[in-house]
């Protein structure tokens, strides 16, 4: 069973747990690898608009969500289907992502994180992911 580990990103204060992910368009014609940050406070996963453009996701709308930040206004936004896996694992799973211009990194929300067993070792600044 794979148990890949990553270091927290020390470029953030406090340090931010991150992993490497592979994103694949559902027709499997485009794929990118990137760092992604673990955001268990978010219901869903969001990616930067720049990735949306690079992967040409416009045809892959899967629905709409009412999206807000805490205390912020609610906005209806399209969600795009995409295949996602954390590096070190075999299977891709389908995620529906919000593509945002105000974002410069991938944020993995609980829709993705809940598929794994994740240990956040804040003392060692290390993330361990497994899929028991």
């Amino acid at each position: 069973m794979p148990r890949p580990r990553w270091s927290y990103d020390l470029g953030y204060y406090p340090p931010f747990p991150k992993v490497e992910v592979e994103l694949r368009r559902v027709d499997e014609l485009k794929q990118v690898s990137s760092l992604a940050y673990l955001d268990s406070g978010s219901d869903g996963t969001a990616i930067p608009h720049e990735l949306w453009r690079k992967m040409e996701l416009s045809q892959f709308i899967y629905g709409f969500a009412n999206v807000s930040s805490l205390g912020g206004p609610v906005e209806r936004r399209p969600l795009y289907s995409i295949l996602l896996r954390i590096r070190g694992f075999e299977d891709f799973t389908l995620a529906t992502v919000d593509c945002r211009e105000d974002l410069h990194e991938i944020l993995l929300g609980r829709d993705v994180l809940n598929n794994y067993r994740i240990i956040l070792d804040g003392k060692r600044l290390e993330v361990e992911v497994s899929d028991p």
């Binding site: 559902v26 955001d39 978010s42 629905g63 999206v67």
Partner: protein, 96 residues
């Protein structure tokens, strides 16, 4: 509804197509509730093209039937719960 990509909202734009599928879903919603409560339904070209127990299962089935095109999916009877997203980590601006 205004989107930040409003310039893409022509009648044939992916966003407009997805909105039309959403409108079709809600026109059928009473019947969907009778037949598919608790299941994921995908609407394309104005009709139900896939039903599944998870978003992933329904998506795979839908794409295999209608190809890769904008669709509208939701979980019947739990729409507001599954199609709501709150970011607890709002981007913060710190001015010193």
């Amino acid at each position: 509804m205004e989107y930040e990509w409003g310039h893409l909202l022509s009648e044939s734009s992916p966003l407009r197509i997805a909105e039309q599928e959403m409108e079709a879903y809600w026109r059928m919603r009473d019947k969907l509730l009778e037949a598919y409560k608790g299941r994921w339904v995908v609407v394309a070209r104005g009709e139900v093209v896939a039903v599944g127990d998870s978003a992933e299962e329904a998506a795979k089935l839908a794409y295999s039937k209608v190809g890769y095109r904008p669709v509208y999916a939701n979980k019947v009877g739990e729409e507001e719960k599954v199609m709501r997203r709150i970011y607890r980590n709002a981007p913060a601006t710190l001015e010193l």
